[in-house]
């Protein structure tokens, strides 16, 4: 039981309301106060099951905006919920797939975004299943201290998997930007960029420190060169992504968008780690 003063019965009744309101049909961002209650619930009770049940039983699949908002809620829950959320999410992949298959289309253009979002979330879950040592936001400074190993082979594979996830974030964010409607209110679409900025930066910082550690530990600089090339390419993509985000007032009001340097950080010298936003 939580050390906070809580009333379980009341919280569970409210949770249903919170989920309902977070996934309402209005074309806005899912209200953070409702998303927050879902996240806090998982920490208070070390369980995400009532949240998943709530999401599954809401009639959201017939409406594209509701489905999209539900996926944003899921993404934030995976990132910031109690670690048990990631474990319990593996049993929910069927429902996530259903979200991608039954796209109700009212002509607002969310269909392709929903498909892309579900496949991103499924990849993220696959990653976490293979690498359970990571949390939902990749909030670690040092790979070596995280894994307590220095096996370059395993490190190589982990980096490759992280880079694949990073590439998926990049194509998804491009799709979101391409779906913006000129004069219209894009708040709902932009709100999906918030967890993507956070996640991509967590991955970026992690890959940076991990590649540095690996360069310190191996003499095989040649063997590492494909990774360095891919790292540099991702740096430039990410830099552009953050630059475009920095022009969205709604988004910069909510989070600090990181600003990456012109050139990728040097991986061979142990220079300064990139700043945390």
């Amino acid at each position: 039981t939580p050390t906070r003063p809580v009333d379980k019965e009341k919280t569970e009744t409210e949770l249903t309301q919170n989920i309902k309101k977070a996934t309402s049909a209005e074309e806005t961002a899912p209200k953070q106060k409702h998303v927050r209650k879902c996240i806090v619930y998982t920490w208070d009770y070390h369980s995400s099951l009532p949240v998943w049940n709530g999401l599954r039983t809401q009639p959201i699949l017939a409406d594209e905006v509701q489905t999209f908002k539900a996926l944003i809620v899921v993404h934030k829950l995976l990132q910031e919920g109690h670690p048990v959320t990631l474990k319990e999410a593996h049993a929910q992949t069927g429902w996530v797939e259903t979200c991608g298959r039954t796209v109700g289309d009212a002509g607002k253009g969310y269909g392709s975004l929903i498909k892309a979002y579900t496949s991103f979330i499924l990849s993220k879950l696959r990653f976490h299943r293979h690498h359970p040592e990571f949390n939902g936001l990749f909030e670690y400074e040092e790979y070596i201290s995280l894994k307590n190993i220095d096996d370059p082979n395993e490190g190589y594979e982990t980096i490759t998997d992280l880079m694949t996830l990073q590439d998926q974030i990049d194509s998804f964010q491009k799709l979101i930007f391409a779906a913006f409607r000129g004069s219209a209110n894009n708040e709902c679409r932009i709100s999906a960029l918030v967890p993507l900025v956070k996640e991509s930066f967590g991955i970026y910082k992690f890959i940076t420190s991990m590649l540095r550690a690996m360069h310190r530990r191996t003499d095989a600089e040649d063997a590492m060169s494909p990774l360095r090339e891919r790292y540099n390419a991702q740096h430039f993509n990410l830099r552009r992504f953050y630059y475009e985000c920095s022009n969205l007032k709604y988004l910069t009001g909510l989070i600090n968008v990181p600003k990456l340097g012109q050139e990728p950080p040097n991986l061979i010298d142990s220079g300064e780690a990139p700043e945390i936003p």
Binding site: P2, T3, R4, Q32, K33, V40, W43, G253, I255
Partner: protein
């Protein structure tokens, strides 16, 4: 105007709040000013007493989870928390490390007031600062120690 204060006093009376609970409610009210250093110091000292500590935490928790319209409750509760992490008992640190997600999830707090002003920004910044502090063991130790030293020196000067 004196009205909100009078109302709060009435509410404290009818709901049967203890002195400690009333003090925390007072320090984290919807008034446009405060909390004052004196108020915060008094509450921080109360956290050294086990019963008062529980009441301070409970009242602060309610304020931190208040709705957007009461953003001042949230903001001032964070201000008070920041103070207590520096000058309050070690139990405050333990409690909020345990429940860090309460503060962490306020980093995206949103509230736009009637005038269209984004007043949530104050809450977001404070939530970020406190989250960073709670996650930086060394900094927290140092800041608590230097605060204690200063207090000792000041009390020494008074004696």
């Amino acid at each position: 105007t004196k009205l909100p204060t009078a109302l709060r006093a009435a509410k404290n009376y009818t709901k049967g709040y203890t002195d400690t609970q009333s003090k925390v409610r007072e320090a984290t009210s919807n008034d446009a000013w405060g909390p004052s250093g004196t108020q915060m110091n008094e509450i921080a000292q109360l956290t050294y007493n086990q019963n008062d500590f529980v009441e301070v935490m409970e009242t602060m928790d309610k304020r931190l989870n208040d709705k957007g319209k009461n953003w001042r409750h949230v903001f001032k509760a964070l201000t008070l928390l920041d103070y207590c992490l520096h000058a309050g008992s070690e139990n405050v640190v333990i409690y909020f490390k345990d429940n860090i997600y309460i503060v962490k999830t306020l980093k995206e707090f949103v509230y736009v007031d009637e005038a269209g002003k984004d007043v949530g920004a104050n809450v977001r910044q404070k939530a970020k600062d406190i989250t960073n502090l709670l996650q930086d063991e060394d900094r927290l130790r140092n800041e608590r120690r230097s605060r204690g030293d200063m207090r000792d020196r000041m009390l020494g000067n008074l004696a």
